[in-house]
Amino acid sequence: MLPNELTISIADLPITLCLEWLDQAARAKIVTRYSDFIVPAAPAEFTISIRVEPGAEFIPFGIAPSWQIRTSRQDQRIDFESHCEKGWVDYASRRGELVIRPRGSDIENFLRVLYAWLCIEHGSLLLHACGVIRHQRGYVFFGPSGNGKTTTARLSAAYTILSDDLIIIKKNQDKFIVCGTPFRGDLPEAPRTNQSAELVGVFALTKDTRHYLAPLASSEAVARLVQCVPFVMSQPQNALRVTEICIDLANHVPVQMLHFQRDTTFWEIIE
C-alpha cells in the first residue's frame, strides 16, 4: 500500500504531495519518479493536493510547436495550466491543488513551475542548465534549447550529472551551490540526482568546431543567465529579483562562454 502523503525535497525545499485521490498505479509512478528526493514527513513549503477530475478542461493540444505552460499570479495565488494538468498555489495558506486527467500521473510541469517560484522566494534560481559534479566541484552549463545542455550531460557521463535540463543554484552564506533536480531534458538515461556541490564555474554553451573559453562581460553574463530562467519572468518583480540574483552570481562565480565540440576533452580546458 502506497502512502497517502509524500514529501519531496529539492534543494532543501520540501513540498508535501497529498495522493489520496490517486490510484495505486499513479502513486507508484510518482514514488518511483521522485524516489531520490523523497524525505520523511516534515513541515513543507507547500502542501499540494493532487486530484483526478474526469472531464476537466486543460489547454488543448494545438499546432503550437512547443508544450504550453501558462502561469499567472494574482495577489497571493499562482495559477498554472498545461495540456494535461492545471492547478494553483496560495501563498497565504501555503496550500495548493493540482488537477490531472484520469489515469494521469504527470505532475512534473506543475512541480517545475512551483519550484521556479519557490526559488525566487528563497533567493535561488531554477535555471535551464546542465549541472555536473566533478571531483566534488559543481559546474553549470547553461543555454537555450539546442545549445548543448543534453550533449554536455552525455559527454560528462563519467561524472555526477545533476540534470541535463534544470538545476537549482542557491546561495549559502557567501558560496553558491548547484543542486540536482528530478527534472530531466532530452537525455532519457539522465539520472535524477539528489546531490549538490559548491559551484566553481558557470558556462554559456555554444557549439563550435573546437574547444575554447571566452570571457563574458558581467552584463552579458547576466543577460544570458536571465534568459535561461523559466516560468517566472512574466512578473516584473520576479524579473528584477532574478536579475539581482544573476548579478550576485556573476560577481562570485566566473561565468564564461564555452565553445565546444562533441567530445569529452572540453573538460581539459575547464580545469
Binding site: 558581467s218 552584463s219 552579458e220 534568459q227 520576479n238 536579475t243 548579478i247 556573476a250
Partner: protein, 96 residues
C-alpha cells in the same frame, strides 16, 4: 516627440545597470536587451524627474555632441524603447 514629457521605464520592465551596461528585461515578452554605453546613460536618466529635453541637455553636457545630434539620437532611442514597451512618457514628474 513632446520634449516636455517625462520618460520613465514601463512598469512591465525590470532593469539593472551592470558595469555601466543597462540590462533590461521586458517581462511581457521575456526579451532581454542590453544597451550600449550612451543608451545605458540615457536609461539611468529616466528617473521621472527629468523631461526628454532635460535628458538631451545632460547628454550634450557629458558627451562631445551637438544639441541637434543629441536631440536626434535621444528621440530615436526613446522611440525604440517605446515601441518595445520598455518606456512610457508621463505628463508630470514622478515624485521620489
Amino acid at each position: 516627440m513632446d520634449w516636455t514629457k517625462y520618460p520613465v521605464p514601463h512598469p512591465q520592465v525590470a532593469a539593472r545597470v551592470v558595469d555601466g551596461t543597462a540590462v533590461i528585461v521586458l517581462a511581457s515578452s521575456g526579451e532581454v536587451v542590453m544597451l550600449n554605453p550612451i543608451g545605458s546613460r540615457i536609461w539611468e536618466l529616466l528617473d521621472g524627474a527629468r523631461t526628454a529635453q532635460d535628458i538631451v541637455h545632460t547628454i550634450v553636457s557629458e558627451y562631445d555632441v551637438t544639441e541637434q545630434q543629441a536631440r536626434q539620437d535621444v528621440e530615436e532611442f526613446l522611440q525604440k524603447l517605446m515601441q518595445a514597451n520598455a518606456l512610457v512618457l508621463n505628463n508630470r514628474p514622478t515624485l521620489t
